[in-house]
């Protein structure tokens, strides 16, 4: 598959942010962990990266659908 590597990249990105969330719950008393430091800017980064990942996944899916159509046509 041509786009396999980009898929893997995105999925690993999503998993990484999920693990970050688990780590947060484990040390609930500690309020100054990564996601809550620096004016919570990391939360903004997580949100933007999620949106970006969603948009790019959408593009990858479109790309594949069109590739399939092209194969069916010729």
């Amino acid at each position: 598959m041509r786009n396999k590597s980009s898929y893997i990249l995105l999925i690993s990105m999503a998993l990484l942010s999920a693990f970050n969330g688990f780590a947060q719950e484990a040390q609930a008393a500690e309020m100054a962990d990564t996601m809550r430091s620096n004016g919570k800017i990391y939360v903004v980064i997580a949100v933007i990266l999620t949106i970006l990942a969603g948009l790019i996944l959408y593009l990858v899916r479109l790309d594949r659908k069109i590739s399939k159509l092209e194969k069916g046509e010729s």
Partner: protein, 231 residues
């Protein structure tokens, strides 16, 4: 070699842009403060638009030289993605300006009045309207070859109009928008070295995203064209 490598590069550069764009060090300026980070997003939209319009006009010239309709489809799709980036640049610029240019001592409508009088904003709106007219023109001609030829010639005119409307006139008039004295963000002396490390990859990343979207649209219209010709 994988032909799709540039799509992966695009994703990597955009992730780099978002992470370093929000976390990286920036110079502390009194008026802009943290909003200077918009350089990686707002300004990149305009750079991307300019690059996509350039590709579009090259495709139009190629069409006029060869009369091959494939080039016409490419020119159309690059122009439409360019407009999308231009609109995003316009809207983000409006948001940015309303928080950095607006005078808190004036009532809101007075600040608004001075913002809409900005030559750079008027020029950008003109440039985008000229490109909207490209699509109006395209959809008003039914004959395929005539449509392709007339709109290719118009596309060259529209591209030529970009230069006075967004590069020349705004620099002749007083404006709040930065960059009257040269090329903002491109000049090695006025952009902070730390920001340059994020800005250039950001331009490449956003432009590649535009090219990716366009390539999908081109393939889709080629498929449609084929279906239409076979039917």
């Amino acid at each position: 070699m994988n032909r799709q490598w540039w799509k992966i590069l695009c994703v990597i550069l955009l992730v780099y842009t978002v992470v370093l764009g929000l976390l990286g060090p920036v110079p502390a300026l009194r008026q802009l403060q943290e909003t200077i980070r918009n350089l990686y997003f707002h300004v990149c939209m305009w750079f991307g638009m300019m690059i996509l319009f350039t590709i579009s006009v090259i495709q139009s010239i190629k069409y006029l030289r060869s009369l091959d309709l494939n080039h016409d489809i490419r020119a159309k799709e690059y122009a439409s993605t360019g407009i999308l980036l231009g609109l995003l640049g316009y809207v983000t610029g409006a948001i940015w300006a309303s928080y950095t240019w607006a005078d808190p001592n004036n009532p809101a409508y007075a600040s608004f009045g001075s913002i809409v009088r900005e030559p750079k904003l008027i020029g950008a709106a003109m440039a985008l309207l000229i490109y909207f007219a490209y699509f109006v023109l395209r959809s008003s001609i039914t004959d395929i070859d005539k449509k392709a030829r007339v709109s290719a010639v118009y596309n060259i005119f529209a591209y030529a109009m970009l230069f006075p409307s967004i590069w020349i006139i705004p620099r002749l008039l007083p404006s709040l928008h930065p960059g009257r004295e040269g090329n903002p963000a491109l000049n090695f002396n006025d952009i902070d070295a730390r920001m340059r490390m994020v800005f250039y990859p950001a331009v490449i990343g956003w432009t590649l995203l535009g090219v990716w979207i366009t390539s999908l649209k081109i393939r889709l219209s080629l498929l449609k064209e084929k279906k239409w010709l076979n039917a």
